[in-house]
C-alpha cells in the first residue's frame, strides 16, 4: 500500500501562509482563456439580454454582471458549451430579478429604445419587425422564444437555463410561438394596409 504524501500547509492555506490576502478557490479560467470565451459568447449574450429586455443599457449592465458571477462561481461548469449555458442561466436569473423589482412609473425613466421600437418607423430591420411583437409577450415567453429560435437551444437546455421543468417547455414554447406568430402576421398585414 502506498504511503500517503503529507499535504503541504501551503496547499491548505495558500495565501495565508504566503502572507498575502487570502482568496477563494482558483478562478474558472485565466485572463487569456476568459478573453477568448468572452469574445465567443459576449455578442450572443448581449443580443439575448437586449432583445428580451428591450433595453440595451440594461443588457450592458446585466452582461457584465453575468460574466463576473460566472468567474466567481463556486462550482463552475466544465467546458465551453456548459460554460456558455451557465452564463445564459445567470443572465436569465438576473433578468428575472430585474423584472421582479418595481418598474419605473415615470415615462422619463423608460428606455428610449422602447419608443423607437414601437414608433412604427419605416425601419425594415428585424428590430422594427420583432421589437413591437416581443414587447407584447410575457417576459418569460420572450426568453423561451429567444433561447429556442435565436440561440437554437434544445428543450432540455432551455429547461436547464430557465429552471423550468423540461416537460413544460414544449407546451410553453408552443403557446408562445403561436402567440408571437399571430402578432407578427397582424403586424405584417397592418404594414401592407398602410400606403
Amino acid at each position: 500500500m502506498r504511503k500517503p504524501k503529507p499535504m503541504p500547509l501551503e496547499s491548505v492555506f495558500p495565501k495565508l501562509v504566503a502572507g498575502d490576502t487570502p482568496v477563494a478557490a482558483e478562478p474558472l479560467m485565466d485572463n487569456e482563456a476568459f478573453a477568448g470565451f468572452h469574445e465567443r459568447s459576449a455578442r450572443a449574450l448581449w443580443s439575448y439580454l437586449a432583445r428580451t429586455s428591450g433595453d440595451p443599457a440594461l443588457a450592458d449592465d446585466l452582461m457584465q454582471e453575468s460574466y463576473v458571477r460566472l468567474l466567481c462561481a463556486a462550482h463552475p461548469p466544465d467546458g465551453e458549451v456548459a460554460g456558455r449555458r451557465y452564463l445564459f442561466r445567470i443572465a436569465t436569473n438576473l433578468l428575472r430579478d430585474h423584472w421582479r423589482r418595481p418598474q419605473p412609473s415615470s415615462i422619463d425613466e423608460l428606455p428610449e429604445e422602447l419608443f423607437i421600437a414601437t414608433a412604427g418607423t419605416a425601419q425594415a430591420d428585424s428590430q422594427a419587425v420583432l421589437g413591437p411583437a416581443l414587447i407584447l409577450m410575457r417576459p418569460r415567453d420572450r426568453q423561451l422564444l429567444w433561447l429556442a429560435y435565436a440561440e437554437g437551444y434544445s428543450h432540455r437546455e432551455i429547461a436547464e437555463i430557465t429552471g423550468l421543468a423540461s416537460a413544460s417547455i414544449r407546451l410553453l414554447l408552443f403557446r408562445a410561438r403561436r402567440k408571437i406568430a399571430a402578432l407578427l402576421r397582424d403586424q405584417d398585414s397592418e404594414t401592407r394596409r398602410k400606403p
Binding site: 487570502p22 482568496v23 477563494a24 478573453a35 450592458d60 420583432l130 406568430a181 402576421r185
Partner: protein, 171 residues
C-alpha cells in the same frame, strides 16, 4: 402533452437548424408548410428570430474582458476576506461576552460582600510590615460605600475593553 402535433415538424426543425430552408427543402414539405399553420408558425418565428439575432450581434457592445476579469478577482478576494473575517468576529464577540459576564458577576459579588477580601489581606500582611489601610480610604471597607468605587472602575474598564475590541476589529 403535444398540442396539435404535426408529423413533419421535427423534419422541418432539423432543416431550419441546418440552414437548409427553403432552398434544400423538398417541394412537398414546402407545400405542407404553406398549408399547415403550425409549421408555418415555426418557419415564420424561426426566420424572424434568426434575422433578429444576426442584427443584434452586429450591434452588440461586448466591452472589455480584462476589466471584467479583474472585477471578478476583486469580488472573489473581498468574499474570501469576509469569509476569513467571520470567525474572528465571532471570537471577538465571544470574548467580549465572557468578559461582560465576569464583570457582572464580580460587581454582583462585591455589591453583596463589599471589600471583605481587603480586610482578610490586611490581617495577613502586617507580618510583612505592610499597612494597606493607608492606601485606600476607610469608606472602601464599608460594604455600602465600596460599590460606589468599584462600579465606576469596572465601567471604565468595560468601556476601555469595548474601545479595544472596536479598534482591533476595524478593517
Amino acid at each position: 402533452m403535444n398540442p396539435g402535433a404535426c408529423s413533419r415538424e421535427k423534419e422541418l426543425t432539423q432543416l431550419l437548424a441546418r440552414g437548409q430552408w427553403p432552398e434544400a427543402t423538398p417541394l412537398d414539405l414546402r407545400n405542407h408548410v404553406s398549408a399547415c399553420r403550425r409549421c408555418g408558425d415555426l418557419v415564420l418565428v424561426t426566420e424572424t428570430f434568426r434575422r433578429a439575432r444576426i442584427e443584434a450581434i452586429g450591434s452588440a457592445r461586448p466591452g472589455s474582458p480584462g476589466a471584467l476579469w479583474w472585477r471578478a478577482q476583486l469580488r472573489r478576494r473581498t468574499a474570501a476576506v469576509e469569509r476569513v473575517g467571520k470567525p474572528i468576529l465571532g471570537a471577538q464577540i465571544f470574548a467580549l461576552s465572557i468578559n461582560l459576564i465576569l464583570m457582572v458577576g464580580l460587581v454582583a459579588s462585591q455589591a453583596r460582600h463589599g471589600l471583605g477580601w481587603l480586610t482578610r489581606m490586611e490581617a495577613l500582611l502586617p507580618a510583612a510590615g505592610m499597612h494597606l489601610e493607608r492606601l485606600w480610604p476607610a469608606a472602601l471597607l464599608n460594604p455600602g460605600w465600596g460599590i460606589l468605587v468599584i462600579v465606576p472602575a469596572i465601567a471604565t474598564l468595560a468601556l476601555l475593553g469595548g474601545a479595544v475590541v472596536y479598534f482591533s476589529s476595524e478593517r
